[in-house]
């Protein structure tokens, strides 16, 4: 039986709530069977549960602890993550509590040598980045799960064994009051970097671990600095190493600094070492006699690893359980949200019997490819932040030195931040549409571009758990053959909505499920569309087909492909 931390964790900014342990299943006479059991109530597990619920799929979420996670952890959430969180209904809370930002600064020898500006288009609802401590985000997700009758959260339930059968898995679960068995048609492993499920299946991550280790410390201090990322290279108090600073809500600052090579985590986390180094760093940003209080600290090492396949029998891996990515470029949780949003609709439609044989497999193909791309990109920035060899150190230091006077080297400071992945090569993309002949607009595989439709109204606000056909028209009717195919698909159970983009102030277009007034042609221009153009969008907002002119049969074929029937 596992013992739990029953005392609320301590935090300056967050009131931890200890949830009651689920023990009702201990000693049950029958083994329950559920369509989906999610292991791990971190951001990715909870978002997966909420995403599945949007399709009417119930799930059980097992969490070995009794409270949300300790420390700020993931603190930077990208625009794409917010768009995904909007779909599961918590983005407004993240936006209200979080701090939006778009600038990053790199300093060397007290000179700002690089400034990153992340673009912010008026058509975007969310800023490029939003800072919020992970326990706050988890609390919002827990609240949403508790309010959702399709999600059952079981705190203090730890998975000890997993046995796979042909079409289900049996989980042996431990609670402080004893164990019980639970069966799941599908198990989603969202149990984080040290995934117990990954270990139970004996799976190994592939890729590289980096030498550089970082102390991550959260302090409460009132600093008169904007919410921007600050990176300090080779500061006098930490020669050769890198220091990062981020503002978090509630006057909390994250300070990440690299450890000298020969120092142990215990030495680095000693109160004296922390105080001396944090004070030295605060000195660099101009604070004399700093007064601060430590909230949380930990040691982190950069790794770039992934499972080569995310689906193993009835077990599906997602988030850090599936891959470990370097923090530089905020690729951890932000990659995880994209994983679970890719998985949610595919697993739901598979459970409902609407999916072709390739749909669920495409989750693994698309997301492993995304992880590998991220690993290649992250490797570049990680090699600059924490040079792994003497040769890398020398060239990095030469670049730092040159950057004071030579502009051409400064782009090397740019560590490519997490972005929404384009599933350009996805098997779900239509093969014979007009994708390649569009002269603009988001291409096949990319997520939709958000569009401001009015005061506090955006295109993404109109989207839900469904395929969408964005149909651009000046007419009063969607062509009959398109309507007929859409109707036939819906009768099969395929969620499909026709969202008409009206160019001529039509207030009613027959065959439309929803209508956007685009008399100013703004949406049409951004999508390089003309009257009769159409975009077919997957339930995760990624485009799988687009046409200059669409027929009902072409729509049917594209949906069949997008459902994994090829």
């Amino acid at each position: 039986m596992h013992t739990l931390l029953a005392e609320p964790r301590r935090s300056i900014y967050f009131d931890y709530q200890v949830f009651p342990v689920h023990t009702a299943s201990v000693g049950a006479s029958q083994v329950e069977r559920h369509p989906v059991v999610i292991v791990g109530a971190g951001p990715i597990g909870l978002t997966t549960a909420l995403d599945l619920a949007r399709y009417g799929i119930p799930s059980i979420v097992l969490e070995s602890e009794q409270q949300v996670s300790e420390g700020s952890r993931a603190i930077v959430f990208t625009r794409r993550s917010l768009e995904i969180l909007q779909q599961v209904g918590v983005a407004h809370r993240v936006t209200a509590a979080g701090l939006g930002w778009r600038f990053g600064n790199s300093f060397y020898r007290n000179q700002r040598v690089f400034r990153m500006e992340a673009p912010h288009d008026p058509d975007d609802r969310f800023p490029p980045m939003t800072n919020l401590q992970q326990p706050c985000l988890e609390q919002f997700l827990v609240d949403a799960c508790q309010a959702n009758p399709l999600v059952e959260l079981r705190w203090g339930n730890k998975v000890d064994q997993l046995i796979q059968a042909e079409d289900y898995a049996t989980l042996e679960i431990d609670t402080p009051n004893g164990g019980y068995l639970l069966q799941a048609n599908w198990v989603v492993a969202a149990d984080g970097a040290r995934s117990a499920i990954r270990s139970l299946l004996g799976l190994k991550l592939e890729g590289a671990s980096y030498e550089g280790r970082f102390v991550i410390a959260d302090i409460k201090i009132d600093l008169d600095l904007p919410t921007e990322r600050l990176a300090y290279f080779d500061p006098h108090w930490n020669p050769g190493n890198t220091v990062l600073m981020h503002r978090e809500p509630g006057n909390i600052w994250r300070i990440d600094y690299q450890l000298p090579r020969d120092e142990t985590p215990e030495q680095a986390l000693s109160a004296e070492s922390l105080r001396e180094r944090i004070n030295a760093q605060l000195g660099i940003v101009g604070v004399e006699n700093p007064q601060w209080e430590l909230d949380w600290c930990s040691v982190y090492s950069a790794r770039a690893l992934t499972l080569p396949n995310y689906i193993h029998g009835r077990v599906i891996f997602t988030g850090d359980a599936a891959h470990l990515l370097p923090i530089f470029g905020v690729r951890g949780a932000n990659t995880g949200f994209q994983d679970c949003h890719d998985l949610g609709w595919k697993l739901s439609l598979t459970i409902k019997g609407l999916a072709g044989p390739g749909l669920l497999d495409s989750y693994s193909t698309e997301r492993v490819a995304a992880a590998r791309e991220i690993i290649a990109e992250a490797g570049k920035s990680t090699r600059f932040m924490t040079p792994p060899t003497p040769g890398h150190s020398l060239v990095r230091d030469a670049v730092l030195s040159l950057s004071l006077t030579q502009a051409f080297v400064r782009p090397l400071y740019h560590w490519r931040t997490s972005r929404a992945h384009d599933y350009v090569d996805s098997s779900l993309n239509c093969k014979d549409d007009d994708n390649s002949s569009f002269e603009g607009g988001p291409r096949q595989g990319a997520p939709l571009l958000n569009i401001q439709l009015g005061e506090d109204q955006f295109l993404f606000d109109r989207l839900g758990a469904s395929f969408y056909l964005l149909y651009f028209t000046d007419a009063a009717e969607v062509p009959k053959d398109i309507q007929a195919q859409a109707q036939a698909l819906r009768e099969q159970g395929v969620p499909l909505q026709i969202l008409v983009v009206a160019g001529q102030q039509q207030t009613h277009v027959s065959g439309a499920d929803d209508l956007i007034d685009d008399r100013c042609a703004h949406l049409r221009n951004k999508y390089a569309a003309v009257a009769g153009s159409a975009y077919l969008v997957r339930p995760d907002q990624h485009i799988c087909a687009r046409w200059h002119q669409l027929s009902g049969q072409a729509l049917r074929n594209a949906i069949e492909t997008a459902l994994g029937n090829e």
Binding site: L394, V395, D397, A398, V399, S401, L402, Q406, F408, V409
Partner: protein, 62 residues
């Protein structure tokens, strides 16, 4: 691609400049000085492939 070539006089000047610059550089800073110079030269060259070939040539017979 054939680049402009240094005259013997130019090469002699480069030889002395490089030697003087290395002597001016504190011991322990010579490596970083040479890497900076290599990066500046690569930028002036504007040809990554040619820089790769030069790197290979410089690795010979060390």
């Amino acid at each position: 691609m054939k680049q402009k070539q240094l005259t013997t006089t130019d090469l002699e000047n480069v030889y002395d400049q490089l030697a003087d610059a290395l002597d001016q550089t504190a011991q322990g800073k010579r490596e970083i000085f040479l890497v900076k110079l290599a990066l500046l030269s690569a930028q002036a060259l504007g040809d990554a492939e040619q820089f790769r070939e030069l790197t290979c040539a410089a690795l010979l017979d060390l």
